[in-house]
Assembly symmetry: D2
Homo-oligomer: 345 residues x 4
């Protein structure tokens, strides 16, 4: 019962194989070799964006912070939701990399940014006393497992563009979103008005690779400098590139997302049948946010179940406590069955 | 003829094997698993420092910048040589991570910091108008392939300590130095007065892992926070840890250093016999700095030799041009022979 | 009708006189002279804090940002209200000076921080993924002209202290608050648990001086360094000190606050009698937040009245539009009368 | 005998008078009033640069750091001499305001930057591993009291421009240089290729005002934002502007520089006649760098002479010790006479 995170499972065997194959002889460092060139081409092809600038890093925090730093200035505001990973889970990395830009929180519903509130917040800026218009950042799949429709993304993009601000998309679970929406990478990014994507791989079967994709390549060199300055230019870049190349070969990235989404769907279907389980957020991808009585948590905990539990195990057994359950591509059926069985009694 | 860098060769097969073995089932992210615990223990054992704080990152720049940021304050001076990697090759990463500390350059001889000049420079600081006493950072093996003796390290450590400044050692080629000096990791670090080490693995057969080792663990938590904030906390930390564990098993780290040092020694021995080759720095480890006529460079270039060449290929054929030749653990004999053969004619 | 701000009126004649008297002969720069020593002593005496560290700067933004930077670390959260000057009106200065600390907004009522919400927000922090516990910052008089009681300050101080966080008080209108509450500077600061105060003078009759007062002087030297690094160490410090000395002589600071409070009270009393005027916030000190119909705004605007108007002058004449009216020590009666007369018709 | 600094004397009476006159009634804050408009116009007229952007701040460190931050990026190098105020005397302010740009020191002769060395240092930059080409900054009058000829400035400007880098001039003693060279402000700035000037007033009779003048005004708004973010936007800006307006009225700025230069010349002339006085730098403006025996220092010290002494008062009485002697506009003849008389015995 390993529902702690989609970064707790193993790397896909095809990716491991690609790493082995990349481990042959000498290759120039810092990405000046063939594997990197091929991986960059694969990302561009996947996004149908032959001119896009593509940069590999090892963590999502680095991808987000470097992208935002490249897109904004230190005296700017970056608009995001209160649930945003950049706000909640990056220990001030965006503030650090941007040199002190301010994350300005926009009200959300089911973790989806409210476009009207965004519009109002943007309108307030302008004087020398407050921060300036920097960028808008949204997350797809959101941090609560919900999804923007393509129209919703386009609406936010329109508002951002109207204010001459770029739209960044934190796509740590980009593949899961494409799988659910049945859309292409291009449709969920530049065709909807997105300017830059943190295209995640680590939560979807890679060892540790994310690609930052900027559809307006004018700032590519600046990104390279910021990446180096952040200690994120890998000398042996071929090993990042090999992972990404395998990821995008024969649709592996979408296949793995389909697996994790299906596993979460199966778990959700089972949980919906249990009366004492409440869904805090509508389950749409590979993360479920549910609440159930403390007594169940205690039992699960005793049996070694791993998942994020948002409350103390001590207290009245009937009290509802929220939890997050995440499935990765490798989630075995019997984990799901075992989890559901706990509620059967 | 692949002498461009010691980060251009393959990862050692034992390390690849360890990665495969680590790729089993679920493991909690962010280092909360057994492999990380074992790798940390192995580093502590290697350094005979059971209390040391140990942190893994993927690049040497990250290791250096995070260590220095943890040890100093934004209004401090960090003393280093003009050749230091932190000064020359990190695109202002130390300034970035420290929040604007100043790298103050101390005269060097053969890239070794002059202890007397350091002492004088420290003495000048103190008023509110200039930077304060922050840290001293030296590199072993230096960026020019030379080595401090243990006594020389101890002398600098003594000066730093007298001014209440920590001594940081950039050990990107720490293993090579231990191999040459025939000393232990402890002798070349805390026993000589070093407070923090960037213990390199990437240039010595790993895929991309460095360990920051701080012998006074009071700032361990601060380092963790700075690492996260820098986007350098890997969610799948087990894959860094597995490399480090393999590295320190059965002396693999020293074995690989012995191989690269021996290869460079062989190359140096051959080059010394060639009259038109001049050594810019005494060859002591796995990097050679030599100068030879442009005509030789042109011929080598034509035949695909890879190495850093510090001059233009256009100009008088007799002019001496400097070069850097680096050997890694995997350097095949026939590359060395081929290189030397170019001078035979 | 000059209600734009309490920084738009003239400097008090006694302060101008002190500047003239300070302008005699030579004095060592950077505060190494008698006037600075006397002014520091006067601040300590006013706050009944003989050990406090006292530092003069020229702007409130500098005072706040330097104080917060000295009290927190770059990976911390600073808790404040959504209305806080540090959040709204300093163009990211706190983020800049702290090296990227995050302003975390706590719900407020009448611009007063909700102590219970603060407590809950603090409790959520702790993991390496988010910011750490840094400091709490409140403003007295608040940015909406309201006041904390001494008990309310003590309650917040207690919560902050329990979490080992210092409490900073932005006292741009500190004197006005003391005048309203009828308390001493000590009672409204360290006796209530405040650790550091930005003690304002500029909005209360000085040319441009604020004093940062830290009751735990351990970080005094760090503050000095940060002030210099921020370009805020005045070489001719005697001219700041002379203003502060005059300010604290014979209760001038409280006398001026009494004048501005009384003027605002008179204005408020008049406005309360006008049915179409609504008070957005209870008027407690020298700032009023009121709403009245657009038609009145248009008339006032035509006649040259100066005040912050939070809406467009175009639209339905009946629509209520909010405004801020501020009185300084020099506010002439006839301005108040003229303003009220506009509503008489 | 007050030779400690040109910021230790009084403010010129005309400037005090202007402050008094500015202290009339209400004026909109943050520079939105007539005095600021007039002072900006006066600076533009003085520099014959009707389009220049002009910004007032209170310290030279702020002027330099804000100008450099506006002109460069965090991953850049800023070239300056080892003696530069920005390197030696600003406690890392340039690194702070630029977000971590690196000050790269260029060899100097008599504190004048060596143009050839600069050219070579620029040529070395370019790869992603090191900092990029940011800006060149020189000081006129230099920190050792020497001067660049207009041709020398133009030569450096040409080199900077060729590398697409702006040239910044730290003009803390700009007026003194104009007086010595007999040139206009325009000739010593944009006509010689300078892009931005820190135009000093504080060391030349003002209370505390410097103007940053940028001849290419595209970045004016960015400067305003950085100034606010740095806490350097004065709400009562009229009091800075009034000083600057008086400074530029009827040539007061040049008259005061002429006085301080003449005083230093008189002092130098006297000192040249004393055999045991050695000039460390050629005396050209209002600062002298001389060495003389410790015995003289001891006597002067006993009699209360104030000046920077670069050595200990304890030691052999014959040993030569260096000193800096600075004259301001108000330097009385009898101080000079008294100083020289000490050597008469």
């Amino acid at each position: 019962m390993r529902f702690a995170s989609d970064n707790s499972g193993p790397v896909h065997p095809d990716v491991m194989k690609a790493l082995s194959e990349a481990n042959e002889g000498f290759a120039l460092p810092y990405g000046n070799e063939d594997i990197t060139a091929r991986a960059v081409a694969a990302v561009r092809e996947t996004f149908e964006a032959p001119e896009a600038s593509v940069h590999f890093v090892t963590t999502g925090t680095a991808a987000n912070a470097l992208a935002l730093a490249t897109l904004t200035r230190s005296f700017d505001a970056i608009f995001c939701t209160p649930e945003a990973h950049i706000e909640e889970d990056e220990c001030n990395a965006p503030e650090f990399f941007t040199g002190g830009a301010k994350l300005t929180l926009i009200e959300s519903h089911n973790a989806l940014m409210d476009a009207r509130v965004l519009e109002g917040a943007i309108a307030k800026l302008g004087s020398v006393h407050g921060p300036q218009r920097g960028a808008v950042s949204i997350t797809q799949v959101t941090e609560r497992g919900t999804l923007y429709s393509l129209d919703q993304i386009a609406e936010i993009a329109h508002i951002a563009d109207h204010a001459h601000m770029p739209l960044h998309l934190d796509g740590a679970r980009f593949a899961n979103a494409c799988n659910v929406l049945g859309c292409t990478a291009a449709e969920m990014s530049w065709k909807a008005g997105v300017d830059a994507v943190s295209f995640g791989g680590t939560k979807n079967g890679l060892m540790g690779v994310e690609a930052v994709v900027m559809f307006k390549p004018e700032k590519a060199w600046q990104f390279e400098l910021r990446r180096k300055r952040g200690g994120h230019l890998m000398s042996k870049n071929r090993y990042l590139a090999a992972q990404m190349e395998a990821y995008l070969s024969d649709g592996l990235w979408l296949d793995m997302a389909a697996l994790s989404n299906a596993a979460a769907h199966k778990l959700a279907t089972g949980l919906k049948k249990i009366q004492r389980v409440r869904f805090d957020y509508p389950p749409q991808a590979n993360m479920l946010f549910v609440a159930f009585p403390r007594a169940d948590h205690m039992k699960l905990h005793r049996d070694g179940a791993q998942y994020a539990c948002y409350g103390s195990l001590e207290g009245p057994p009937d009290e509802m406590i929220s939890a997050r359950l995440v499935c990765d591509w490798s989630m075995p059926d019997h984990h799901i069955k075992a989890f559901l069985d706990h509620f059967a009694v």
